[in-house]
C-alpha cells in the first residue's frame, strides 16, 4: 500500500478512528492499542500480497523469542552467544535467499549449473521491506545480547512481571509499525520501545505531524513525481542523443528527485507515527549541504549509516586497530551498505566508490583521522559542497543505470561538450528542483533563521510557516505528478 494512494488514505482514516475512538476507550486499552496497531500494520503490509505475511511472521517469531531468550538472566554467556549467532544467521539467511540468491548464483556457480536454476531464482519475489525489517530484527537481538543498551527497561519490566504477551507485542509493534515497515527509517529498539503505551487523542503533536506530512507529501508528490518525468530521459536509449548540458541537468535533477522521494517518504513516516503518538529520529539532515562525503553520510539516510556504524563498523574494530584496518573496514562497510540497496553489482560499486571517497578524505585529514573543525561559511566550504554534490550526483548514476556500459556511455556523453537543452526539459527540471534547493538553503541558513526568529518572535514565525505550509498543501492538491512508487521500495 503506497502512502500516496487513496486506498492508504482510507486505511489511515479507519485505523486512526478506531485507534482513538474505540480501542483507546477499552478497559485494557494500552495493550489493545498496541495489538490493534500490529494488526493494522499487517493488513497494510499484506494488502498487495498476503503471502508475504509468512516471511514477516517468521521474522517476528524468531526475533521475538530470540530477544526473550537473550534478555533473560538464566542462560550462560556461551549459550547466549550461540543463540545470538543463530539469530543473526537466520535473519541473514532470509534476506540472502529472497534478495541475493540470483546474484550469488550468477557469481558463484559455473554457467552450465545455472541453466535450470536461474529461471527459478529469478522468480523468487523480493518481499517488500525485507531489508528494513531484517536490519531492525538484527538490531534488537544484538542490543538484547549486549544488555548494556539504554531503553530496554520496559522489556525487563515485562519479564519481571511475567507479562510475556506484553513483551512480545512490544517487539511486534517495534518491527511492524506501518509508517516505517516497508522503507524505513530503520528504527532502533531503544529509541522506540519506551514510547509504547496508551495514547490519547489530546496528546497528539498535531503541529509536528502536519509539518512532517505536508512537507513529506510535497517533496514526494510534487517534486519527485514531477522530476521523474524528466529524469526518465536518463534511461537508455533516450540519453544517447542528448547534449552534455541536458545530461548534466538531468543528473542534477535525479539527485534532487531521489532526495525528494526518500526524504519525503521519511517525513511522511515521521508524520504518521506522530498521529499515533510515536516519534522517529530524523533520517535526512539537508544532505546536499555536505562539504565532504564523510559529512554526507552523517546527513543522508541517517538511520542506515548509524546502523552500519553500530552493528558493523564498530564490531569490525572501527578505527581502533590501525590505519590499514580502518581503511579495510571502511571499504567493507560501504561495500555491504551498497549491496544492501539491491542485488546488483552496480550497488556494490556505488557503495565501494563512496568507501574510497571516505578513505581518501580520512587520509587527507591526517593521522588521527578526525575531521578538522570547519568554519560556518567561507569559500572553501562552498567549494566542498559543490564538489561533494557533483561526486554524489555522478555516483547516483549507478542507481539509475544498473548496466555499467550505460553508465560509462553517459559519462562519456557528458564530456562531449555539446550545449543546448530543450525548453520543456529545462522548465520541468528548474521548477521542480527549485523547492529542493530552497529547502537546503533554508537548512543552511541556521544562524540567519535564528536571528529572524529572535527579531520577529515566535508568533510571526508560526504565521509565516503556516502560510508556507498552506501553499505547499495547495500545490500537493493541484500540482502533483503522475503517481508512482517510492524509489526505496525496491530496496
Amino acid at each position: 500500500m503506497l502512502f500516496n494512494s487513496w486506498v492508504f488514505l482510507a486505511f489511515l482514516a479507519v485505523v486512526f478512528a478506531l485507534y482513538y475512538g474505540v480501542i483507546g476507550r477499552l478497559p485494557w486499552r494500552g495493550m489493545a492499542q498496541v495489538l490493534f496497531l500490529v494488526a493494522a500494520s499487517l493488513v497494510f503490509y499484506a494488502y498487495e500480497n498476503p503471502w508475504l505475511l509468512i516471511l514477516l511472521g517468521t521474522s517476528l517469531l524468531i526475533n521475538g523469542l530470540g530477544t526473550r531468550l537473550l534478555i533473560s538472566e538464566s542462560p550462560g554467556q556461551g549459550q547466549r552467544r550461540r543463540v545470538l549467532a543463530a539469530l543473526v544467521i537466520l535473519n541473514l539467511a532470509g534476506i540472502a535467499f529472497f534478495k541475493y540468491a540470483s546474484l550469488l548464483a550468477n557469481t558463484l556457480l559455473p554457467g552450465t549449473a545455472l541453466d535450470g536454476l536461474l529461471p527459478m531464482l529469478h522468480d523468487i519475489p523480493l518481499p517488500i521491506g525485507i531489508s528494513f525489517y531484517t536490519f531492525e530484527g538484527l538490531s534488537i537481538v544484538i542490543d538484547a545480547y549486549q544488555r548494556r543498551v539504554k531503553g530496554f527497561e520496559p522489556f525487563r519490566q515485562d519479564i519481571r512481571e511475567g507479562k510475556e504477551w506484553r513483551f512480545q507485542s512490544r517487539i511486534w509493534l517495534f518491527m511492524t509499525f506501518f509508517p516505517h515497515l516497508v522503507a524505513g527509517p530503520i528504527v532502533r529498539a531503544h529509541d522506540f520501545v519506551h514510547q509504547i503505551g496508551h495514547k490519547r487523542l489530546r496528546e497528539i503533536d498535531w503541529a509536528g505531524a502536519v509539518r512532517c506530512l505536508i512537507t513529506g507529501f510535497f517533496l514526494k508528490m510534487v517534486c519527485a513525481d514531477n522530476l521523474k518525468e524528466a529524469t526518465a530521459l536518463i534511461d537508455p536509449p533516450h540519453f544517447e542523443g542528448l547534449s552534455s548540458l541536458t545530461l548534466l541537468a538531468l543528473l542534477y535533477g535525479f539527485s534532487f528527485q531521489i532526495f525528494a522521494d526518500f526524504a519525503g517518504y521519511s517525513l511522511i513516516a515521521m508524520g504518521l507515527a506522530r498521529l499515533f503518538g510515536y516519534q522517529f529520529c530524523i533520517n535526512f539532515n539537508f544532505p546536499y549541504l555536505s562539504a565532504s562525503l564523510t559529512e554526507f553520510w552523517t546527513r543522508w539516510h541517517i538511520s542506515l549509516s548509524t546502523w552500519l556504524r553500530d552493528y558493523l563498523y564498530i564490531p569490525l574494530g572501527g578505527s581502533r586497530r590501525g590505519a590499514a584496518r580502518t581503511y579495510v573496514n571502511l571499504f567493507l562497510v560501504m561495500f555491504l551498505g551498497g549491496l544492501w540497496h539491491g542485488a546488483a553489482w552496480s550497488y556494490a560499486v556505488w557503495g565501494t566508490a563512496h568507501g574510497i571517497g571516505l578513505a581518501v578524505e580520512r587520509a587527507l585529514r591526517g593521522p588521527d583521522g578526525r575531521p578538522k573543525p570547519r568554519a560556518g561559511g567561507g569559500l572553501k566550504r562552498w567549494l566542498g559542497i559543490f564538489i561533494t554534490f557533483n561526486v554524489v550526483s555522478l555516483l547516483w548514476l549507478l542507481f539509475k543505470l544498473p548496466d555499467f556500459s550505460d553508465v560509462l556511455a553517459y559519462v562519456k556523453a557528458l564530456g562531449r561538450g555539446t550545449g543546448g537543452i530543450a525548453p520543456q526539459t529545462a522548465y520541468l527540471l528548474a521548477v521542480f528542483s527549485a523547492p529542493v534547493i530552497l529547502y537546503h538553503a533554508w537548512g543552511g541558513a541556521g544562524a540567519f533563521r535564528e536571528r529572524v526568529r529572535q527579531r520577529a518572535g515566535t508568533r510571526v514565525i508560526r504565521l509565516v510557516e503556516g502560510v508556507l505550509l498552506a501553499v505547499l498543501l495547495f500545490l500537493i492538491l493541484t500540482n502533483s505528478g503522475s503517481p508512482g512508487a517510492f524509489i526505496y521500495f525496491q530496496f
Binding site: A207, F280, T306, G466, F474
Partner: protein, 300 residues
C-alpha cells in the same frame, strides 16, 4: 567510518502548544487556496492547454474530452495532433476535441474516444502510429482513467491537470515564445519521395486491437477520417503514407492530406523543434481541417 552526527531527537510534543488549531487552520487554508484556484479556472477559463510533462498534457486532453460536452469531432493521434488545440478549431467555428497523446499510440486515443457513452460523431485519426501497438505509456494512461483522482477531477476543477499552476505558467510561456519566434520552417527531405504511394498491392491490415476499436467505432456510427499531418518537412515535400491511404479506401473511411491542403492554400509549415507544428502553423492546419469538414470533403 566516521561517526555520524548525534541523532537528533524530535522536539517534544509539549513544544507545540495549541498545535491542533494551528494545524487545522493550515490545512483549511491549503484547501481554500485550491478551491479558489478551481473557482478561478472555472469562472475565467484560466486553464492550461499544454503541460510540462507528457503525462499531464495527456491528462488535460483526457479530462477535456471525458468531462466536457460532447464534441462534434475529435482529433486522435500523437503529439503532432496535440498541437492542434481545440481553441484553433473553435476560432474556425467548429468544436473539435483533442486526443493527441504525447508518447502514446493512436489505438489508445481511439479506446479513450470510445470510453464516453456518447462518443464524438467524427473521428480524425492521425496516421503516424496507427499501425503500432500500445505500450507502457498507454497502459499508464488507461489506468489513470479509472483512478479515483480522475473521477474527483470531474467534480472539482481545481484537481484537473489543466488547473496545475506549473502547467498554466508553462502554457503562457510557450504561447509567448511561439508568438515571438513563430517557429522554424520545415526541412527538405533527406531522400525525396521515399514515402510516396506505391502502385503495388499494399497490406491494409492493422494490429488486432486497432481493428477491434475501428470496428466498434463503425458500429457506434462514428465517421472515421484518416489524417496525414505535417511531420517536420516542408508541405510540398510531404508524402502521405501509402499504407494509410489504402487502409482508408479498403474500409470506406475518409482521408485528409493536411500538408497538401496547406500547400494548395499557400500556407507554409513552421515547427518548434523540427517535428511539432508551431502555434501559427498549427492554427492554420486546424482552420483548413475545419473547412474541409464543413465542406464534407474527405468523405469517400
Amino acid at each position: 567510518m566516521n561517526a555520524p552526527a548525534d541523532r537528533m531527537e524530535n522536539p517534544p510534543a509539549a513544544a507545540y502548544d495549541a498545535g491542533g488549531v494551528w494545524a487545522l487552520v493550515v490545512c483549511l487554508c491549503g484547501v481554500a487556496l485550491a478551491a479558489g484556484l478551481g473557482a478561478l479556472a472555472a469562472g475565467s477559463g484560466w486553464r492550461a492547454q499544454l503541460a510540462e510533462t507528457n503525462f499531464q498534457s495527456n491528462m488535460i486532453r483526457l479530462a477535456d474530452y471525458r468531462h466536457g460536452p460532447r464534441p462534434h469531432a475529435v482529433l486522435i493521434g500523437t503529439s503532432l495532433s496535440g498541437r492542434l488545440l481545440p481553441g484553433y478549431f473553435r476560432e474556425a467555428g467548429m468544436e473539435v476535441a483533442n486526443l493527441g497523446l504525447d508518447g502514446a499510440m493512436v489505438v489508445t486515443g481511439m479506446e479513450i474516444a470510445l470510453s464516453r457513452p456518447d462518443p464524438a460523431l467524427v473521428w480524425l485519426v492521425e496516421t503516424r502510429t496507427l499501425g503500432q501497438e500500445a505500450g507502457a505509456n498507454d497502459a499508464q494512461l488507461l489506468a489513470a482513467l479509472d483512478d479515483f483522482s480522475f473521477w474527483l477531477g470531474a467534480r472539482f476543477p481545481a484537481l484537473q491537470a489543466s488547473a496545475r499552476p506549473s502547467s498554466i505558467l508553462y502554457t503562457r510561456m510557450k504561447a509567448a515564445k511561439d508568438r515571438r519566434t513563430g517557429g522554424r520552417p520545415g526541412a527538405a527531405p533527406a531522400s525525396p519521395g521515399t514515402s510516396a504511394p506505391v502502385a503495388s498491392p499494399v497490406d491494409t491490415s492493422f494490429p488486432p486491437a486497432t481493428e477491434r476499436v475501428l470496428a466498434q467505432a463503425r458500429a457506434a456510427g462514428v465517421r472515421v477520417i484518416f489524417v496525414h499531418l505535417p511531420d517536420g518537412r516542408r508541405v510540398a515535400d510531404s508524402q502521405p503514407p501509402a499504407h494509410a491511404i489504402a487502409a482508408a479506401e479498403a474500409r470506406g473511411f475518409g482521408w485528409l492530406d493536411v500538408p497538401k491542403l496547406m500547400s494548395e492554400a499557400g500556407v507554409e509549415t513552421a515547427y518548434t523543434d523540427g517535428l511539432h507544428l508551431a502555434a501559427p502553423a498549427a492554427a492554420n492546419a486546424a482552420r483548413l481541417i475545419a473547412q474541409e469538414l464543413r465542406s464534407d470533403a474527405g468523405r469517400p
